[in-house]
Subunit: 291 residues, 3 copies
């Protein structure tokens, strides 16, 4: 993999406990020259679907290395610890629990080419886990050592067993279909898939979906929110940049992933509209009557 | 110490200010090839006991290097800045204020073999501190330079004076005795020592303490919380993994430190029970009448 | 710049999304041996003035390298992406949007010696940005590549155009004048410029300002807060260290930047007084009548 490969680390550990630092320390002890890059550790506890979505957004930009992802409510149970091989010029291994967390990432990277089930007995260093400790911290005891070995180019069959990539869990619990659906001649429905720190509301819509509705690049649409009464449609203007909007005006920009997002200029579209991740919206072309 | 030694950094600085980054920058300027691994900076402000407990949990897993810890309400006063030497294959120096913060860590690493008092006058680089600045940021001016020098293998007597290890402060203010006490033939009392991000409540109990009560590996106990009326005992089942529990069922697992913790499956035991760090509980064997 | 130069990274990205990690990954892909040191990413969204103040406090301590700063509500609009050259033994380039964010930093480092406007077309790697993505993440697409190239010593004219340093935006929107004003023979007014995690309230006053009022090094002053009735002056004692104060007693220490700060011992002066960043205070010498 070359000495420049990094480990890209995502979890729901938060940063108030020592979990993240301990995982870094385990990697450093096994592979001292490897950089560990934190994607985020603020995934909501146990929210596999949110972690999977974040990984899917991030991985296309990452360089060579190993993705280490831990959102793992089933730790210590029968769910398998896995490493999944993918091709391409980005990360070549994805390490984590077999619970759907990694599925969005491998899909974004062209799909798995092979997979292994990690063997804790061969991975856990004697110094990470007291003999009397419980199996509640596989990030430290299993996944970090596996990521360190893989980024160092070691043969996974030294600490894992080949499994059928077809047997992998491909859907995170609670994940939703994310394909916009035309719901009428002049209308499309969509799902809010992510609300970021600024309150931007990413939709599972691409610009072409609006073009099919006949909305121009600077056109106006009406947005209906499933959680609000129908007569409270909010107009939103297609713009290129946040700063193109008036104060308080709802906009639609193409975001850094190529998807449409509901936004304000220097404000939170999520707060304005009450939308959260999972909110369903319908969009119709035209400035509407209530402008 | 070898070039792979890392600095393991814990503080109550938070990440909303530039303190943590400035300490990293000072280390990088003095020892550019050294990795600084953040354990956590979210220790509650001034909570020496919580920082000490976190260090004690973390240090047994860390590799060679230097622990840099700053929870330091006495900064600028007469409390001594120190570095404590420990033996073993983990960290060999612990750097911080002499206020009990480091005591759990050196105890977990076999006790101090020697100690020095750091000399700010010989440590503070001219570029970290304006001549007119106050002595309020020893993390930047004293502890970071000391850690950088020690991880680089420099002689501590170049910037510090030997002191008697017997003179070190060994107890953090507000720390509590953490030894379970049998309080009856069929009962043990314990202390909640840590609530983690998931709401798992770590107790100062080991599995052997329950075995002495005659509780089987999959047995049920009654947990009485000092802050709740006695008749509100909550049953808790000994399980191996979170996923072995029913939804909403309180469990006891052996955690990653070898201690027992009150847990839920994908939920917060702290929220369910109202337990916080410092809560006292009594545990009796048996399924009880109120199941 | 030498191989030890680091990138010092500040933003309003927060750590709940993957933005910070993606920027680290882009730098690592372009300059794998370079350390990226996070100053903070918790600047309030869009708060250019707060980011500028934090940079101004931090940069005098930083070693060689590049400052990468992104608080950028105008992303995608006509505001220029820039890199500003400064002399000295600290950072030699400041990279970010031309919106005043960098102005405090270059002032603290002696002023700009030259400047360039970054050219996104020559900077954005094909792998960071899908062809159909919007221009909403210049941290990833423009600033991180520029910082990676500059820290690696590449010629900025390969990806940027010289501009007149006189044309740079020098004031962050919403920033306030921060010079104490004598408002009477025995009085000085000042501005609260920063409240840190501990609730310490930094003022734009130096010890010499109090000396001009005739306040001794251990003297007492009366502090009037613009947001509180005049008769509610709070006495504050000049001390060297937090621990010199009684419990609950307001103090004035010289902080690590050489400025005076209102503080408590192990408590929040901001909470006690209601002061926030931007609060105006008046200070008079003397213990007052209400001691």
């Amino acid at each position: 993999m070359g000495s420049d490969g990094a480990i890209f680390f995502l979890s729901d550990y938060g940063t108030g406990d020592e979990f993240v630092g301990v995982v870094h320390a385990v990697v450093h002890r096994l592979a001292p020259s490897v950089s560990v890059i934190d994607l985020s550790h603020e995934v909501a506890p146990f929210d596999i679907a949110a972690g999977a979505a974040m990984l899917a957004r991030a991985v296309p930009v990452l360089g060579p290395g190993v993705v280490l992802a831990v959102v793992d409510p089933g730790v210590g149970s029968e769910r398998r610890p896995i490493a999944v091989r993918v091709d391409g010029d980005g990360p070549n291994w994805l390490v984590g629990p077999d619970n759907g967390l990694l599925a969005g990432a491998w899909a974004a990277l062209g799909g798995p080419t092979s997979a292994v089930a990690l063997d804790p007995g061969r991975l856990t260093p004697a110094w990470t886990r007291r003999p009397d400790a419980g199996p509640t911290f596989d990030g430290r005891d299993v996944f970090a050592p596996a990521a360190a070995h893989l980024v160092s180019g070691r043969d996974p069959l030294g600490f894992a067993t080949a499994i059928d990539a077809e047997s992998l869990v491909v859907e995170a619990p609670g994940s939703r279909a994310t394909r916009p659906m035309p719901t009428g001649a002049n209308e499309v429905s969509a799902l809010a898939t992510w609300v970021d720190r600024y309150g931007n509301v990413q939709l599972d819509l691409r610009p072409s979906d609006l073009e099919e509705l006949g909305v121009a690049a600077d056109g106006v649409v009406q947005v209906f929110f499933a959680h609000r009464p129908e007569d409270r449609a909010v107009p939103a203007r297609r713009v290129r940049a946040f700063a193109d909007l008036e104060a308080g005006e709802l906009g639609l920009v193409v975001d850094s992933s190529g998807l449409l997002a509901l936004v304000l200029d220097q404000g939170s579209a999520a707060e304005l509209t009450g939308a959260t991740s999972g909110t369903v919206v319908r969009i119709t072309a035209g400035a509407g009557a209530r402008r």
